[in-house]
């Protein structure tokens, strides 16, 4: 694993900006169960970093810890140079961390407009908000159409767009997307990945958790492969896509000593 880390650092040297997010040796668990056993990742400004792995590998746990929903047992989370591990989610949002949670978690009885309005709660700026809203209506025309409809009446894909727009409207410094393609139709999945590509092109720093590893590796700069609460592989995503038989990780074939 150390070798892998070094590879990234070598490739990362040069004119690449300092990491905006640095997670070091993070241990997180629920009750008696430890889910993350010392995970280290970093994300640099403007990067799209993807975290792939099977269900239960600890991907969502990592995002929830960074967002402040779960408290780390040990290890550190540094964001923009400050230690933020264990801080409250509302404070981290103010610092510029935005999580689009798994399963979208939109507020179903609130209208689309109200959902967006909550998204900006911690970092509201009336002038900017109107401009951003107009901007996102262009990016997500459906949200303009459905502005006064209850969020719960939207289709799954539309809800995902609402969730992403809601996560973006606070102008976060780091956008974390947790399984944005989960449960969507193939057409909608294409649309969501296209959208993530657009966001990346706009310079937004994104940490993406995806089960659909091939699709995620297509658009990501770098990727980490999780298995059983540990990082199995990490590196530039095109190299990862070529060199690793992803299927074997998914089937658990390489979990043994061979790789570690």
């Amino acid at each position: 694993m150390n070798d892998k880390k070094q590879t990234i650092q070598e490739q990362g040297s040069g004119a690449i900006p300092a990491p905006i997010l640095q997670v070091n040796d993070l241990v997180v668990g629920y009750g008696a169960i430890e889910v993350l056993h010392g995970v280290s990742i970093d994300v640099r400004e403007g990067e799209l970093v993807s975290i792939c792995g099977v269900n239960g590998a600890g991907k969502s746990t990592l995002l929830k810890s960074v967002a402040g929903v779960l408290k780390p047992r040990s290890g550190s989370i540094r964001f923009k140079g400050n230690e933020v591990g264990g801080k409250k989610p509302e404070n981290l949002h103010k610092h510029g961390i935005s999580l689009v949670p798994e399963g979208r978690e939109i507020f179903p009885s609130l209208t689309v407009g109200e959902n967006l309005r909550i998204g900006a709660f911690g970092r509201y700026d009336a002038k900017r908000y109107e401009a951003d809203l107009a901007d996102y209506f262009e990016l997500f025309p459906i949200l303009k159409e459905r502005y006064n409809q209850a969020g719960g009446l939207l289709s799954g894909g539309e809800q995902q767009m609402l969730a992403i727009a809601r996560g973006l409207i606070s102008r976060p410094d780091l956008l974390m997307l947790d399984e944005p393609s989960l449960g969507l139709s193939p057409t909608m999945v294409d649309l969501i990945f296209e959208l993530i590509r657009t966001l990346k092109a706009r310079g937004i720093t994104i940490l993406l958790v995806e089960q659909n590893a091939r699709r995620a590796l297509e658009i990501a700069d770098r990727a980490y492969l999780f298995s059983n609460g540990r990082i199995e592989y990490s590196g530039m995503s095109d190299e990862l896509a070529e060199s690793i038989d992803i299927t074997s990780v998914y089937l658990g074939g390489n979990n043994g000593g061979e790789i570690l």
Partner: protein, 300 residues
């Protein structure tokens, strides 16, 4: 049914229902945000009623200032009980919070008994409250009209708060999905504090009209409105503010209907019949008349 009886019936339902709606609204505000059935809510009302008694009896302040102080004391009681009693147990089980609310309730009751008196005290009421006014041929005390008017104003205020302000929208969001609201930067402490403060303000208003009707305050007085609040939310539904208001008015309608239609020999069983209706609601329509639109998954 003669026209007069009908008008009297409508006035009774509206005035009683207004009081019941305010009581239920205060309960649901806290329940919606914390999923906590606050058994200390009745004591919020008692605190305000005692403040009415003390300030009204021992000072010469104008009535409106006395009312404001009483409502403020309700808000303060809500705020402090959350800060001191409920906050330390937040994030634990709902049962812990529930037991805490019993504890707050009992501590306040016993404090009134030991610190003030176990016996009831007369609460001074401004004279104009009891002036009889004639409305379409029906004579009714002015306080009933004031109660209906106050309730309309408060309901409009709540509506504006919850629909038009970002704090209100955040509170509605938090009541649907608390963790996600926090992820959007909605501070947990703020919305919970506000919910308790609003609950306390409503308790203060209820205290004014409740003690104006009974004319007195005693340590256990909170149990009456608490029971009414529970029945109203059982009827209307615990999941929405609208449900609480509807429940309050429907409860008043049923209660007045029973008074009007029951033969005098059965009138003493009115409450028993009312409870049978409540049990029927629990069995047949446990979610109440107004169902929280998309909240099927919520428990507790």
């Amino acid at each position: 049914m003669s026209a007069n009886i009908f008008i009297e019936f409508v006035i009774n339902v509206l005035s009683m229902g207004s009081l019941y709606a305010l009581i239920a609204l205060g309960l649901v505000f806290v329940y919606g945000i914390c999923n906590l059935v606050n058994f200390a809510y009745g004591e919020f009302i008692t605190v305000s009623a005692y403040v009415l008694y003390f300030v009204g009896t021992f000072t010469d302040l104008p009535w409106w200032l006395v009312f404001l102080i009483a409502i403020g004391s309700g808000a303060l009681t809500g705020f402090l009980s959350e800060l001191i009693a409920f906050r330390p147990f937040r994030g634990r089980s709902l049962d812990a919070l529930l037991v805490t609310s019993f504890a707050v309730s009992i501590i306040l009751q016993r404090s009134f008994q030991l610190g003030i008196s176990p016996r009831s005290r007369a609460v001074p009421v401004p004279d104009f409250f009891n002036i009889n006014v004639s409305l379409l041929g029906v004579v009714t005390p002015l306080r009933n009209m004031l109660l209906i008017g106050t309730t309309i104003i408060l309901l409009i205020a709540v509506l504006i708060l919850m629909r038009r302000t970002s704090l209100g929208i955040a509170m509605r969001g938090a009541s649907e999905n608390f963790v996600t609201a926090r992820l959007m930067g909605v501070p947990a402490n703020l919305v919970i504090s506000i919910a308790f403060v609003i609950s306390g303000i409503l308790a203060g208003v209820v205290a004014i009209f409740w003690s104006a009707r009974t004319g007195s305050v005693e340590p256990m007085m909170g149990s009456g409105p608490l029971l009414i609040g529970f029945i109203s939310v059982v009827i209307g539904g615990m999941q929405s503010l609208v449900g609480a208001v509807v429940g309050g008015y429907v409860y008043a309608f049923i209660a007045n209907m029973l008074s009007l239609t029951l033969p005098s020999s059965l009138l003493s069983f009115r409450d028993a019949i009312m409870f049978v209706i409540v049990i029927a609601f629990l069995v047949l329509k446990p979610e109440g008349l107004i169902r929280g639109k998309y909240q099927e998954e919520r428990v507790g």
